[in-house]
Symmetry: C2
Subunit: 162 residues, 2 copies
């Protein structure tokens, strides 16, 4: 049985991982989606970058975080996507050779429609030195097992646009 | 000459694009980073998904938006990365066959350090039907051409963590 909106509890904290960040994948992602020199030019990055070497695109870090979330939780959940993300922050550079893991905490449930609800969860990504490299608050739509009452969604920061 | 912090003007609006969303790329990205069934299983998506067919991972849409930003603007700018993003919203599903373009508007400049400043810009992504499919507010660090005064960054939502 998948995890429905009714099954999610505010305050639940889960940890998932790991994801090995390789030099090749850092460059492949950046060549395709974020070809700024500090993501793709290892020599120049070593000599000129304030980070002292090649770092992963922030969007690659977000994507690797998503993969850990899907493998650890979302693949077992009755979700139909997310509305968006708040407070996305790149806190510490992610580098080739790093190993990432995540921590996910449910912070709010909003029963916004009879057939589904919104789950707000804070996801933090850590490297092998337990530095928090990335964080965000996701707004994910979970189906309800049975239709239920709807509360005012006025306290929900996410837009309701789909 | 690259674009420095001093060169950026609040209120400037630029448009860039286009990016063709292919079926293969939608599936490749999702297989690697977001293998939820409505992103990777075309048959099931057509039959069961509330979206009526395969849709791109939201992180893929963010990544394609980034590529348009880099090609159109950031590759000419003296930036050293971004601190994060606020109010990231997936508004309309992105589907194979779509063609994306973006609009970028500078909304705030914060001269937070003598050697660099923060530029907050709202980026909107549109499809070929001029539907706004995605939006976010980025917090990008621009180098200054010359060291300058620093103002209180208390009104800046972004953390100062690097």
């Amino acid at each position: 049985m998948p995890i429905f909106f009714e099954d999610v509890e505010v305050g639940t904290v889960e940890q998932f991982g790991s994801y090995e960040v390789t030099h090749d994948e850092v460059q492949e992602f950046a060549q395709q989606y974020d070809p700024q020199w500090f993501h793709v030019d290892a020599d120049r990055a070593r000599e000129e970058s304030p980070y002292g070497g090649l770092i992963a695109s922030g969007w690659h870090t977000a994507a690797m975080t998503m993969r850990l979330l899907v493998d650890g939780h979302l693949s077992d959940a009755a979700t139909v996507g997310a509305k968006g993300v708040d407070d996305l922050r790149w806190r510490v550079p992610v580098r080739p050779g790093d190993t990432l893991r995540i921590e996910n905490e449910v912070i709010e449930k909003v029963p916004e429609r009879p057939e589904r609800g919104l789950v707000r969860a804070r996801t933090k990504t850590f490297n092998q030195d337990d530095e928090e490299v990335f964080s965000m608050v996701g707004n994910v739509m979970y189906l309800r097992r049975e239709d239920g009452p709807v509360t005012d969604a006025g306290d929900n920061e996410a837009d309701d646009v789909e």
